[in-house]
Symmetry: C2
Subunit: 413 residues, 2 copies
Amino acid sequence: MRADLDRLMAEYNLDAIVVLGDETPNSQRDYLTSRARAGGSIYKKRGEPAVYVVSPMEIDEAAKSGLAVKTMYDFGLAELQKQHRGDIPAIRRGIMQNIFKSLGISGRVGLYGTHEVNSTVPFIMMMLDNTMGVELATSEENRPDLFSRMYETKDDQEIAALRDVGKRTSQLVSDTWEFISQHYATSLEIGSPIVDKNGNPLTIGAVKRFIRMRAMELDVTEEDTIFAQGRDAALPHSRGEDDDVLQVGKSIVYDIFPKHIHSGYYHDMTRTWCIGVAPADVQAAYDDVMHVFHETQARMKIGEDAKLFQEMALDYFESKEHPTPRTRNDTMDGYVHSLGHGLGLNIHEAPGLRLYGPSKLEAGNVFTVEPGLYYPDRGYGVRVEDTVYLDDEGKLQTLTDFRYDLVIPIRVR
Amino acid sequence: MRADLDRLMAEYNLDAIVVLGDETPNSQRDYLTSRARAGGSIYKKRGEPAVYVVSPMEIDEAAKSGLAVKTMYDFGLAELQKQHRGDIPAIRRGIMQNIFKSLGISGRVGLYGTHEVNSTVPFIMMMLDNTMGVELATSEENRPDLFSRMYETKDDQEIAALRDVGKRTSQLVSDTWEFISQHYATSLEIGSPIVDKNGNPLTIGAVKRFIRMRAMELDVTEEDTIFAQGRDAALPHSRGEDDDVLQVGKSIVYDIFPKHIHSGYYHDMTRTWCIGVAPADVQAAYDDVMHVFHETQARMKIGEDAKLFQEMALDYFESKEHPTPRTRNDTMDGYVHSLGHGLGLNIHEAPGLRLYGPSKLEAGNVFTVEPGLYYPDRGYGVRVEDTVYLDDEGKLQTLTDFRYDLVIPIRVR
């Protein structure tokens, strides 16, 4: 968590960090600024307060971060502009030298943030030559970076934000279920179209439009929501095709990861639905997925290796003769991804529930549990996902709140 | 435009480019992939087709880019994972070496895209040592990067997308005007609150909620919309305070830059409004702004220096005794920013209408024209902005379509 920053800087042997920023969304900057809506970069020496350097127009927004705010004019921008007239790289270099000198930054410096790569290059070159008088931490150590380490555990304020976006997302999924169930099937035969009261077919595009509007009312934004049916449901990253009509008995994977418009925290959940009836093969796959879903969570506790849960999932699915990457390297069938991932201001962050990686479960972890099975050639996929939180007493709390029914009942007419 | 890529690579002496990508929004990748919803990076040798390297789960989405799609397994991921078991940096390095070798990338290589800085560092280090057998283009030349050069002009497909999002945005602003004008003032005295038919005050938060919902219906997303009143309107980057009640006669700066949810292209427009009546000082500032708005556009033509228009704005505002950064370096009063900026898949891109920078207007330019005047201590700010397009015949077309009235008429009750 954020409070660990100075301790982790010591552990990582960093005398200072720079969080580079431009106009791109920047979760590491957001994390340190409590999501103040300003651009700019952050400079912090170990044991000293962070300094947020922004353009003069953004001072008021930047002040909401609670950090010390300075502008580039405080570091000689006006003089450098006069001296270098339009030579942007020279001005940038001068500003950076002035900031380092003025703040007394020296020793080993780590670079973070999100930035356009092309304009990161000259900055890194400067850190590597002798102009800045510092040593660049090149992150070649095989371990998570500083921010990933902080992200691994959430403080109370973050948990409150995560709980809030979890409630909103669960509501949204519940509303989507209701929206679909107000429609009709023309018969309960597999493949029959779902229609509205006037007989017009219900498309994935219409469902997505409903989701989008409802998300807005709930003060969350969603992008790239997966609402994919049949074969598309078996392609874990297919978003679904807008023109496809919903059909009785086809597996629908609905994976949604909205972000609260103010806090910026994400929730992530998935449900698999069959409208009207579930075919036997989909039901069997669903049962295997739910087995792993419950069995792994029952074993989760503080101090346990994160990779244990991926192993449990692999063992169980293999015992049921589903292919996995352990049995077939490049398989696109069966269980093809890891069991879960942390989330916060990023949709994917530490800790990961996967085979490789050092993490042990700790109090304050927030992560997804999302077993799935995929069979493109058989035309179905199944995934179920909740976001969970390991609390201070070591209890696993679920931040998602929606039932696990596979079948959405539907009226026939 | 995109079709210039190989020609510009030759001009910039680049044998190959790499567009690095992770989960972060990445407009340079979007530009080359027509916004396919996949992660991954792009590798392109001059004169050869680009290769898009993604995870196996994203093949189908990536294929929508029209580029050649490969996965990391095609470049030995499985073998590297076995060899380096969980040593992520080593695996990354191996993949990159395999990609470079397999595609025959050598010579001078430019790096682009948007990426987490900390994991960009080892990649740049690899390019600098001898393991990759290439020379890193370090971008220290004082000129716009390759993508900025492409962004300067838009092709027909892009103009169509920009025209479309312009129509939607203009509609949204028109709807916002209508929404406000359906309210009431308790009197026409400056400072009187605006209320609904039940006498409940109309807040900025309520207006922003209206904008958000309506944006969704129009298939655009907006974030960080500025709807700022009084002193806040005089702080160019203040977003406005949700709890503030709209008042008669206060200047409201409404600056909105929505993005189409499918195309990803932006529009950018600003209007300044006073509800009911306009005070004389706001009206006078408004007239000065509109003078610059029209006068500069009347002079815009192919081949003209972009900086001329910023000079015209500065000259005129100074002649009216408004402070500018030319008369007072760090002024926060008067005219404090540049006249405009290009836009496309980025809200700010080339060409810029500012004092420094080499650009001349060309056919295919799309940019904003946005003079403004700011007086925080007097409690008002004024800005008017359209997005315009210089067509193949050299005619300046406006992509924004909404009237420039300062006063929104309001009923009193």
